[in-house]
Amino acid sequence: MKTHYGIYGGQYVAETLMAPLRELEAAYEDARRDPAFAEELGAILRDYVGRETPLTEAKRLSAHLGGARIALKREDLNHTGAHKVNNTAGQALLARRMGKRRLIAETGAGMHGVATATMAALLGMPCDVYMGATDVERQAPNVQRMEMLGATVHSVSEGSATLKDAMNEALRDWIASSDSAFYVIGTVAGPAPYPEIVRDFQSVIGREARRQCIGKFGRLPDQAIACVGGGSNAMGLFAGFIDDPSVKLVGVEAGGRGIETGEHAASINGGRPGILHGAKTMLLQTPEGNVIDTYSVSAGLDYPGVGPEHCHLHDTGRAEYTAIRDDEAVAAFDMLCRFEGIIPALESSHALAEAVKRAPALPRDAILLVNLSGRGDKDMENVRRWKSARAAAAAS
């Protein structure tokens, strides 16, 4: 299996985790050659998750902006409300195949935690989800969902109390329990083989979207745009178009209050190479090599590293990585609500905002494919709070 992407990736883990990673590699190699595994996963994605998800043309939004046509890949319509379940379905089946009896997960916004808890319930496995205390507070509805589904949510209050600290705690659990537990990583980060496994399970997004684009528009999109925190929904979308040189791949990082303020989560735009959670990656870090607290209005993008393959696609120039500020993302969130009757996740609103920026300058026959990676129910309170804080700041 692939372990490095250019200078990035690898297996920077404690020796105790090397044997479990080998075991995972072997099990995944075996599973992906087994038609029965593909069949079982396909059935779950179809009959339980509700795939395939539609491709929706955002006609009123496109008309309002002028310029390019915007098409939305509707991952928000998956069961559990985001793309995360594509991956947890695959990893949970892999866990069962390996004879593991418990699932471990980290979560930021809570969507991966919910998607893991969901699969744990479906397969009848106990599930422990680690979540930063800051995120437990700002994503309360998802904590309730996970608990409703029978998972145990562990609030992690040390370090910066966000996703990276949750991942540290999940790794600590797994180091001690890998004989019987499976660590379901939620994004294309972590030590090999996770980036490849997660990309493979998410690539259903790009495969469907490519076919749907050709079916609906008679051609490929000009640009495929997705938000990037760790980067799993983006890698899933990009996977469908990576061999189509005419399709520009655009990853959108969380610009927070602006890259220049230092308050952001844009690892590729604002970081430098480093090592975290088992992989060499672009990392937001101090000059001394300690990991920096990130900031974004969207909890799901609030991660100081990024998938190693994204770093490599950036180096080679195959994909372009931009950053969208909180205010731009919230404006795009509002636009999609009002023009299309769709409440998007704040994470996905970053990708949408990039399309909103680009569309007016493009010809009317250009097509921007945006991955609407999740729905925004979980963000209603955050958006309300963000707006009132901004109004208060403007008034003072």
């Binding site: 690898g10 920077y12 105790t16 090397m18 959670h277 090599g289």
Partner: protein, 250 residues
């Protein structure tokens, strides 16, 4: 022969296992951690492991994590730990000094710059907890020209062939045998099959073998040293400092 090899040879000649003491440097303060290292050397520590505090210590238990966060809050950096190492080296010319870090601070400084600075500070060997056999090539290439050894970790289930590969070509070093599948921290009891595992590791390793993780009492240390060439104590010592006591094993 280097100081690491000398330390093991000296302990063996005295009919005991080498005592390797880990401290999170900069905790509870730069002064106190340097003093504590000196104290441990006076108590018979053969080698001091200087822990570099890191923001994301995913292989550590609660005691060492809390110490690392406090050391970072006080501004301790890799460069600061190397300055502390230089002070210890000046005061203790024969004691082995091992730098114990996560990978990122070393890479962030630049591996060549790190190796040069570590050699200047009198460091004998380095250990990066998240740099396994597969990834260690560039780190070894940087350390070797400066005569700095590398300490490989061996897990409870590392197969014999991998143990042999892990110690291959290393000088002025020892194999760090992790006693438990888990993170650092004190344990009431060590695993029942530890003796058998340590015997197997020793059989596969051309380097001396020291056991660490979970060793917090003199009795545990003695038990371990019947099957290893030395032992490492960390959390138990750091806990003494956290409680304002002299660092020592019960």
């Amino acid at each position: 022969m280097g100081r690491i090899e000398d330390s093991f040879a000296r302990a063996k000649a005295q009919g005991r296992g080498a005592f390797i003491a880990y401290l999170t440097m900069g905790f509870p303060s730069e002064e106190r951690s340097v003093e504590a290292a000196g104290d441990l050397i006076s108590q018979g520590a053969d080698i001091i492991e200087l822990g570099v505090p890191f923001s994301d210590p995913f292989a550590d238990g609660a005691t060492i994590r809390a110490a690392a966060y406090e050391a970072l809050r006080r501004g301790t950096s890799l460069a600061g730990v190397l300055r502390m190492a230089a002070r210890l080296r000046a005061a203790h010319p024969d004691t082995g000094l091992v730098l114990f870090s996560y990978a990122n601070p070393l890479y962030s400084m630049g591996l060549d710059a790190f190796a040069r600075a570590a050699a200047d500070a009198g460091i004998d060997a380095a250990l990066a907890v998240d740099v396994p056999l597969e990834e260690r090539g560039e780190l070894l290439a940087a350390l070797r020209p400066h005569g700095i050894g590398y300490i490989p970790l061996v897990a409870p289930d590392t197969p014999p062939a991998r143990i042999a590969a892990s110690v291959e070509g290393l000088e002025n070093s020892f194999a760090y045998a992790i006693t438990v599948k888990g993170i650092t921290g004190e344990r009431a009891a060590l695993p029942p099959d530890l003796a058998r595992r340590l015997d197997a590791i020793r059989a596969a390793s051309r380097l001396p073998v020291a056991a660490g993780f979970g060793i917090s009492t003199k009795a545990q240390a003695e038990e371990v040293c019947r099957h290893a060439d030395g032992f490492i104590a960390g959390s138990a010592l750091v806990k003494c400092l956290a409680e304002g006591r002299r660092p020592c094993l019960r």
